[in-house]
Symmetry: D3
Subunit: 330 residues, 6 copies
């Protein structure tokens, strides 16, 4: 533990610490995120709340992300106590728990958005940092409404797509291609403190990207990321977001399909998982106040590798949130 | 050809006949249903129109049936010209074509229902018998609205579930568990000429079945079907439906998951494909005016066996519709 | 509810009832058996305790059953409140909970057996009926030691194999091929009240079966079961076991590999899931005091059908145990 | 061993007996058929020679059967020493060995047929009974040329298809749809002692079946087999073939795709593996002089169930050949 | 559109433009390449013709590429209108259509080569640029005979293997390992304007490479490509091919098996899809007159990632061909 | 052949050379490592002995590596005679054979270790270089006891994990997480000549790595390997190991799960197969006296890519051992 923690905090966090794989096999027990305790969303003493949003009713590609939370839960139990690369021991920094799933309506996107927002707002109001596992990318919209309620937040957005469409199919405005446009329109996301990394593939039209750029969103297409190198990308992302509160959204299709075939709209030429780790670890020190990992669709990957990548990336995001929560407290 | 057909009809049907596997490999060519020609829904000369409805936005279980039409198209190209068991050569009885897919909105069930109904009504008005491939089971509702528009039809419904729920999640009334209740309510389905075969598994409550029976729907649970034997079940089904126009709806989860694992809500203890063939072949002579095959979710079955079963059952249904169309014409 | 239950019991059981799929999607939430509450094994008020035993270190074939409990948990959440075939509503009969997993040592079969026995004995002593999900079949041995401690129990054993070997590899006596021999030797299993149904395939030698029959175990090979018909088999099984306490052990490889490919030692020519349902439902009224479902190895079945079958069969076994528990109480 | 065997024969056979799973795990060692010794085709002392024919260049459907021999070898190592259903211990009746694969040319069907015939003829001339694993069904043609060289043989043919086409694609006469027509034409197969069981599905035209029947081949379509019951089918098959030498050809697509999805041209409504076992066991006592198991295409079945079924059915066929070889010797 | 196009051309091209995913879901409709119209190969107004060659009868490894065209069709429907990386909108540059499949004979390589050549020559003669999807790599040979008929062409060949063998199995000269040797021998391919990129793995002997180099073919093994960096490789490839007409052949096994496991002869250490995109985008400006993408064998990849990569790479190749066609016209 | 070999050695080696894919298809024949002859471990004339160790009873994660040897055998038959990248023709340097599998006891880790040690020691005593395919990583411990018996050896260890735990589950000391600690304790492995490359992921605690470093083991975590570049890592590894005898252990989970999903404990961010090739080829010239490739668990990878990578990496290791054996002889 790199710094002094009040004894009562340390004791409380120890009570929330997941079981060690040295004592009991990591494949044992009902699967919760990181083998954490299942807890009621309203329970006291929790600093970071992990939860699932099993909703994919806004997908315009191949569905299946509704099954993501359970698959990521299962895979995430393979993670251990300490991040060997950074030395961060997240459970020393924050009491973490699995808060279950938001009660979605799989057929009604608008109603589900309202429920997600209510669920997340409750956490935020109780001082719990939300870390959600989707579900399709629409879920980021109500999550941003909750974390950006008291003022627009910045955004680190790692994805193959910009998700700033205006709508599809003649007027459908709540799709997994529109969350960040909606969030900007609602004033909960500050576009000038927003960076999107890894965009690539083909597009229906260039309008979507033009709109985003016109708002001030910084887009780093994959080709640019490769050409400039990840260290430079990380530095710019940090500069864009700055020191104010920010949200982190990771779409698993940022990874190349070789690393994450189990997602609805894969685009070749993506990040390797090693590059994704590099990107995430470069975000230490930012004031992250919430995050999500979305679009894991396990049925599309019989090897289970996508959920495995999701679970391990989720651990990295948790490390970031835990460090940030700790920094805010000191 | 067992009876005389006017020359011009025979010639027209020959033009619509799919390519033989003796001349070109059945795995070649872009996949259309049964290797039929792709045709515009409004094209003339077509007697049976096969089309897809790639919509699964009303699924309450595992999604994926939106990918069903393409997978069934591919698998169905393995069928040949003549049904060896019955001797029926459907392409002699009716000019058949692949009319493409209904233009669905994957995120909006109500709008999609309107589009399905409009598409199907157009066919019915032009005298084309609709044979649809889902998609989730909600699609049967607008299809029934189209075929039952001029008067309520009867129904042969082969499925693991009754799909006569009133709604879910506090008031959502358009789900894949409600189509037949909606159709009865709308007066397009005559419950007293309706039989449901193969129901099984667990239920949330007995209300759904009570409602159906109260309407006069004849339910033959799987256990009863097995106990009485399929010949008796077929005989009763024929009696319930009678000689008036009827619709045939086949949910692939009527099959046991061993035969069709690729579906959203499998229930063990289902029909073998052999039993399903027996059931379908027992329906010859009924005045079938439309049909559907639904709930094939190919991503859930990496062997492809579910789509294969779907494609071959679709051929059987096509044989029934072709014979019925021919009978009406004579 | 078919009979009068004291109000306090009904209220308590209602508290333990799992969430309905009409209210929240069955694919949501961290996966516990049947969506039941996770509870401490020592918690009060529980009548039937479901738990996992993620151990496959005694497998002599293909491994993977250690991953069975989680996969069956996930699949079992698809079951609902009421058994449509029998009308049994198990959660009205007994308060049920998911007690987590026995803390196994994946590398040490003897130590794991001790832990399973201790865990199960604790339940039995508190009046909780154990329903375990393996894991390989060795786990039945310590389970039988717990339930048979106060007197040898009878056994309904549905399996492709007799599992009454003396040992393998020059003296290894704790394998998944030996549990019932060990249990008879220890006096916790009464061989004359023991019936094994569904045995088939090839054998290394006939000694194993000879030993079993010499003890008085009634073996019904698959061929005999088919020739005589399941009703007769059920009747005989009931007669063999009689009215005294008995245990039910179901090896998923009793099913044909078409219905359950995900198991270590499949043998063709097995039961269909429909036959398995028939067998299980025929056991209503027996005084069942515990049970297990073993050998689901999900990695060996990318379709997930094996775990799906396991979850639904587990529901049937739960219905039997719930009725029996209720009968004992009245 | 049910009858007296000269000591030297018993000793020789014991030398060829495969390792027992009680001594070393059945999953260990390089995979040969049934864990038998690999032997040179010209080696002495062998009574039944198992070998592979990894050729699928004559497939008109989905390819992959060239990978069948290896997959069946691997799966067959799960079989043990004694057939529990019949009590037959094949390795007591005949010295068996794995003779490797015929040296095929994957691109040249005619050349490969010549090689298969030469390989098989060599065995027949040395008194070794050939038991081949395909490969596509064309391989039966050169095998029949070898075993029928000194006089036409009878045939038990279990399959979904008749494989008596004249040709395809404008004159290609060596395809997996033509072997039995070619064999009849060549006079190595006696059509009046030939029975085909399990035919079903759709056909390009009825000519193929008409030709077969005109030759005197007895066709038992699946529907007839089901209607009359397997005992009657077995009895008729035995009568057709009679007491003279006969060949057994088993196409894995005789099984329903639920039991064997890994094959190029699956047809729903097929045999269960239990029915297949019943059929095969009904052939005891026939003078079988060779056999094959064909069309296992493992890439088409990620569960491995098809190869597993293939390996276990191969054991049943081996039992038949071993009994027949023993009967001829006495 | 970066330059002026005659109005009639623009209008014609607009008629051939595929449907946008903003209007109808990209997963809907029968699958054609890029959702393009299916058209008769002899139809007028087409500038680039995409077609399939479902032939794998010349494969010496694992088969399955005959199923490639359909799988790539399905996957390619996920591509959109504009290449986001390059800004190229191919459907503005050329009228494109799906011309169906060449009518192959799966059992006869020589006959199939003749048919491919005739089909392709027809296109070339009508001024249609051929873009073929295999099938195994032998198909490049007749394609080159068609495009090189009026003079030898250059070649960009991206592959793990040189495919310049002389023959196999004692004289078989038409295999998927020989197309480029045959094309050089026939004078339709100019070896001094030929570059092969990405070769690696083990070889039967060094003769094959020696022959290629002796002809003047420039081979860039994978190790050299990595050591020098892709920009240098691209520059050299451009220099080798020069400004004269050239053909582009992309074997999917150029990709590492992590990116494309679904191919017959994978070799580890291959290109990432990002590198492949880099290579292809480096070829802008070359006078490409035809191309192919071969060796996608979907059955060998249950995740579907290989076909997905194939479909997206095909879009890149289409962009190259469209730009080149446009350049030739101006 | 780059140097003079005595004629009798060349002739002997030629007898052991595997069949060429130019003569017979590489997919034909029972699968042995690299299509080598199966030979008795005690046979004379062999210089490098490849063998399997189908044991995974010490796995603490997902099991299945017991099926690794057969899967790697099958996949390795795709390798050819000459390493195209290095020009090494291993079968010219050493007579190689497939010695079958060590007779393991799947349930008893201690007994299995004794058997592995005895098997390997026999080889070492006869001058045969052992090259083993696991199985889980515990197998390296008895292998090191055999090769380090006459003096501690150095170690190149490529892995995601250090495998220097002291024990798990309250005292279990023989697990796949402990082999190198045990080997150091036994004095058969010289920790100061030991380098571990590619470590990453999360850890239960930092103790394990602290212990290793305290012994003098050089650990190169993945992040350091990437930061410094592989050439520098290779150079340091060579320096650490020096010129004395060393052992090479390659855990397939060193690869990223995109390249090798079929392993029990995957960690994202690993090596690409190209990087692994680079690492291995950098070890030419070291005095390698034995090696292993472990943790391939084929059931966890339905694409087969993991075994494919394993087989091709095994060929690279074989090239290293062959060159080293040749160098020792000269």
């Amino acid at each position: 533990m790199p710094h002094t923690v009040p004894d009562e905090d340390a004791a409380r966090r120890a009570r929330f610490r997941p079981a060690s794989g040295l004592e009991s096999p990591r494949f044992s027990g009902a699967a919760t995120f990181m083998r954490l305790q299942a807890a009621d969303p309203a329970a006291g003493g929790i600093e970071i709340g992990l939860f699932g949003i099993p909703f994919d009713g806004a997908t315009t590609g191949r569905p299946g992300a509704r099954l993501g939370p359970r698959a990521v839960r299962d895979a995430s139990t393979g993670t251990r106590q300490v991040n060997a690369a950074t030395g961060v021991a997240p459970y020393d920094f924050a009491a973490c728990a699995d808060l279950g799933d938001v009660p979605v309506n799989p057929i009604d996107a608008a109603e589900t958005c309202r429920r997600i927002e209510a669920f997340s707002r409750g956490l935020v109001e109780r001082g719990v940092v939300p870390l959600a596992v989707g579900g399709d990318h629409l879920v980021s919209y109500p999550l941003l409404r909750a974390v950006g309620r008291s003022g627009p937040v910045g955004l680190i957005h790692i994805d193959a797509h910009s998700d700033t469409d205006d709508g599809q199919y003649g007027g459908t405005r709540l799709t997994h291609g529109t969350p960040f446009r909606r969030a900007v329109e609602d004033g909960v996301l500050d576009p000038r403190r927003c960076v999107q990394i890894g965009l690539r593939g083909s597009v229906d039209a260039l309008d979507e990207l033009d709109w985003a750029r016109a708002q001030g969103i910084r887009i780093v297409p994959m080709d640019e990321a490769v050409a400039r190198g990840l260290p430079e990308v990380v530095a710019e992302a940090r500069a864009v977001v700055g020191g104010a509160p920010a949200y982190l959204s990771f779409d698993i299709d940022a990874l190349d399909p070789a690393f994450a075939p189990g997602t609805g709209t894969p685009e070749i030429g993506g990040f390797s998982s090693r590059e994704a780790l590099h990107l995430l670890r470069g975000l230490r020190g930012l004031d992250l106040v919430g995050g999500d990992l979305v679009e894991v669709a396990p049925s599309l990957d019989p090897t289970g590798a996508t959920a495995m990548a999701g679970g391990q990336l989720l651990f990295e995001i948790l490390c970031l949130l835990a460090e940030a929560a700790d920094a805010r407290r000191r």
